[in-house]
């Protein structure tokens, strides 16, 4: 079936597509945007770095300030202290008079704000914070934590407990949970959080890729039909061969794009850290995410495999849609059920990711239109163990692709020469029986 003519079609589909501005931009843009986002986050972070903030503290208890200031001795990235605290003691004036004075100082930018620790804080457990802007929750939380710590200490001391000792014991009582997955080859340590993140991300990309390239197939068929190219081509090559060549050619485009993305991710994951260090930049959180992703080569190969399988089964449907309609607008109506199939598979994947071994997960992954995304997810979560039904589901998927191809190529054969009225599904079924 893969004769010279089919190869010519594959070549044409691939070359004309890879050369388009859309493809080049889309392929280069993704790594570029990711790079820009992360360097942007870094640069903006540097640009909008907070400066040292000066706070006035009114400590009516007289015993909290010292510990409070000691607890908040963080420094900025520049090495400057994050906060400067100045303790204000009333010089005979009342609390209200003092605060009025402070408000003026804050408006004159002498202070960024003030914190009032009332005398009855141990009983009432309420402190007051006021500043030029109060948007920084993080900062308020750290202030409140520092005060709480002191208040807790005071309350413990009041009852005669040894506060420092208790705190030490509590700190030493924190337990670290090490998770591992039991496999036939023994236990494998695994970070479940990053594992799910990767699975979701990859499954999501898988779905998007399958849909994007599937729709390219519809567009390509409609192009040949609406521009009346089809008859010239199929007077030379069988419609089934044309369809096959088209499907393969467009899949190569997808593989090319995946290779570029995969190569980018691989380089970042493996050399990103040392590249950043060489450039004299801090590695930041991005690198720790990348390292936690466990983007193993087998997983990328599984991704490629399920992309090709998923693309195949959906693209065949999409080719059938293209053959039946005359314009992309007409195609929308038929595309919707296809897209829904893929999206339902994606939602199933979300629940399957947490429980990959339930009977429901097993059966869902056997349904050929769900297999690519759901089975990929199960494999990724269960890695390195193969989940139940993996081989069976792939076999069913392969057989479905084969039969669907046979079926749709019969519709395709008739449809690509039908101009004018869009057929009803009933008519399309009639085409199946044409000689």
């Amino acid at each position: 079936m893969l004769n010279k003519k089919v190869i010519a079609v594959i070549q044409r589909e691939y070359v004309t597509r890879v050369r388009t501005k859309g493809f080049i931009i889309g392929t280069i843009l993704f790594p570029l945007i990711i790079t820009l986002i992360f360097s942007g986050v870094y640069l903006f972070g540097k640009f909008f770095q907070p400066s040292t903030r000066k706070y006035a503290i009114i400590d009516e208890t007289g015993v909290i300030f010292a510990e409070f200031a000691a607890n908040l001795s963080d420094t900025l990235k520049t090495g400057e202290p994050k906060f400067i605290f100045e303790e204000l003691k009333p010089n005979g004036e009342s609390r209200d008079e003092l605060i009025k004075e402070l408000q003026k100082d804050i408006n004159n930018k002498k202070y960024h704000g003030y914190v009032l620790i009332p005398a009855d804080i141990v009983e009432n457990r309420t402190a007051y914070y006021a500043a030029r802007n109060v948007g920084d929750f993080e900062e308020q939380r750290s202030f409140s934590r520092a005060i709480s710590r002191q208040v807790a200490n005071l309350r413990l001391a009041k009852k005669g407990y040894p506060a420092e000792e208790i705190r030490d014991e509590i700190n030493q009582g924190w337990v670290n949970m090490v998770s591992a997955q039991v496999t036939e080859k023994g236990e494998v340590s695994k970070n479940s959080a990053s594992n799910y993140l990767m699975t979701y991300l990859l499954s999501y990309f898988l779905m998007i890729f399958i849909m994007t390239y599937g729709q390219s197939v519809t567009r390509s068929v409609i192009e040949e039909k609406s521009q009346r190219i089809t008859e010239t081509i199929i007077s030379t090559i069988k419609p089934g061969e044309l369809m096959l060549g088209k499907l393969i050619g467009i899949s190569f485009t997808g593989v090319t794009q995946l290779a570029v993305f995969g190569g980018f991710i691989f380089i970042v994951a493996h050399y990103g850290a040392s590249l950043l260090t060489q450039a004299g930049l801090p590695q930041g959180e991005f690198m720790s995410i990348m390292e936690n992703l466990h983007l193993s080569i087998p997983m990328l190969l599984f991704f490629l495999f399920f992309f090709l399988m998923g693309y195949a089964i959906f693209a065949i449907l999409f080719a059938g849609v293209g053959a039946m309609v005359n314009t992309e607008e007409e195609g929308q109506q038929f595309l919707l059920p296809n897209i829904m199939l893929n999206i339902v598979g994606f939602f199933i994947m979300i629940s399957v990711a947490k429980n990959p071994d339930t009977p429901a997960a097993f059966w869902a992954s056997l349904f050929p239109f769900f297999t690519p995304v759901v089975m990929f997810c199960r494999i990724a979560v269960s890695d390195p163990v193969m989940p139940s039904g993996a081989y069976l589901s792939v076999a069913i998927l392969a057989a479905s692709i084969f039969f669907l191809f046979k079926l749709v190529s019969r519709i395709y054969r008739v449809g690509i020469l039908m101009y004018g009225k869009k057929p009803s599904l009933k008519e399309a079924f009639k085409w199946l029986r044409y000689k």
Binding site: A8, T16, R228, I229, E231, T232, L417
Partner: protein, 303 residues
């Protein structure tokens, strides 16, 4: 050599019988006019010859081969529904179509350059197809049909949408192909161009053959010959002549339709012995007349 043998083919689409028991043979080296009004089943028949659709019954054999896929690369086909990838460059698209005919790259490139130059499209080689005018795109399609030197060329309405200059260019090439011994099937509803080019014709209507044979024979068969006559004198004699069937005075000349089996030479003798004749012309019926006569005749049920 029989290049095409079609035996009793039928094709139905739902309730419509597009081709109804059509049979014909075609010898190599002819220009064959496949004629008929719109919707007569010409395109359907050609699609069956090209194996784009399959007849419900009957057989088609091309060059003694019933599997057309094996000799596909020796057939050039210009479909009526034609178009070309608009986003591709001119030469590129031709190279692709040449590859579909399994031409070698170097050979294809040479042939494409030759034909582009000959069709005065040489400067457009690297332009995108969408930048070309409609006529130019038509010529491009024609090049795609003949560039691989096919021995059977099937042209479905090749002059559709072309200006007279380009019609002439294509006509010349068709005649050149004929001289080289190629067989050309030429489907059209324009009788005028068929009359100029064809050796043999097959006229179909509603999927059925209504007329076929050598063009000259067909004309003879429908030779209710007319005579255009100019002379000085009254017409009393002619109106009563036993040779004349119908008499029409057009002012500038008189048209006479002769009785069947009447000899024009006899009429000329009689007329010239009585009048001073300034014009005596035997006019063959045009293919167009025959077409209208036959098609309207069959439409009225007089098949």
């Amino acid at each position: 050599m029989q290049i095409l043998e079609i035996k009793n083919i039928y094709k139905r689409f739902g309730d419509v019988t597009a081709v109804n028991n059509l049979s014909f043979n075609l010898e190599a080296g002819n220009v064959f006019g496949f004629l008929g009004p719109n919707g007569a089943g010409k395109t359907t028949t050609i699609r069956m010859i090209m194996n784009i659709i399959v007849p419900d019954s009957g057989s088609i054999s091309v060059m003694g081969n019933s599997k057309i896929s094996e000799i596909n690369n020796t057939i050039g086909y210009l479909p009526e529904e034609r178009g070309i990838y608009r986003k591709m460059k001119v030469k590129e698209v031709l190279l692709f179509l040449a590859k579909l005919k399994e031409m070698k790259n170097a050979e294809a490139s040479k042939a494409i350059d030759y034909w582009l130059d000959r069709m005065s499209l040489g400067e457009w080689k690297k332009k995108k197809v969408e930048e070309l005018s409609k006529g130019m795109q038509q010529k491009l399609q024609f090049i795609a049909t003949i560039m691989f030197d096919p021995s059977l060329i099937i042209l479905d309405e090749p002059f559709m949408g072309l200006d007279p200059i380009n019609v002439n260019i294509i006509k010349d090439i068709i005649m050149e192909m004929k001289r080289k011994g190629k067989t050309i099937i030429f489907s059209t509803h324009s009788m005028d161009s068929a009359e100029k080019l064809c050796d043999r014709i097959l006229l179909v209507n509603k999927g059925k053959e209504v007329l076929s044979g050598k063009l000259s024979e067909v004309k003879q068969r429908f030779g209710t010959k007319n005579i255009h006559l100019n002379y000085e004198g009254d017409d009393a004699y002619l109106r009563e002549s036993e040779l004349v069937d119908k008499f029409d005075d057009f002012g500038n000349f008189i048209e006479i339709q002769m009785k069947p089996d009447a000899d024009p030479q006899e009429l000329l003798k009689q007329v010239s012995s009585r009048y001073r004749v300034s014009k005596f012309e035997i006019v063959e019926p045009s293919l167009n007349d025959i077409f209208i006569q036959v098609v309207s005749g069959s439409e009225m049920g007089g098949e």
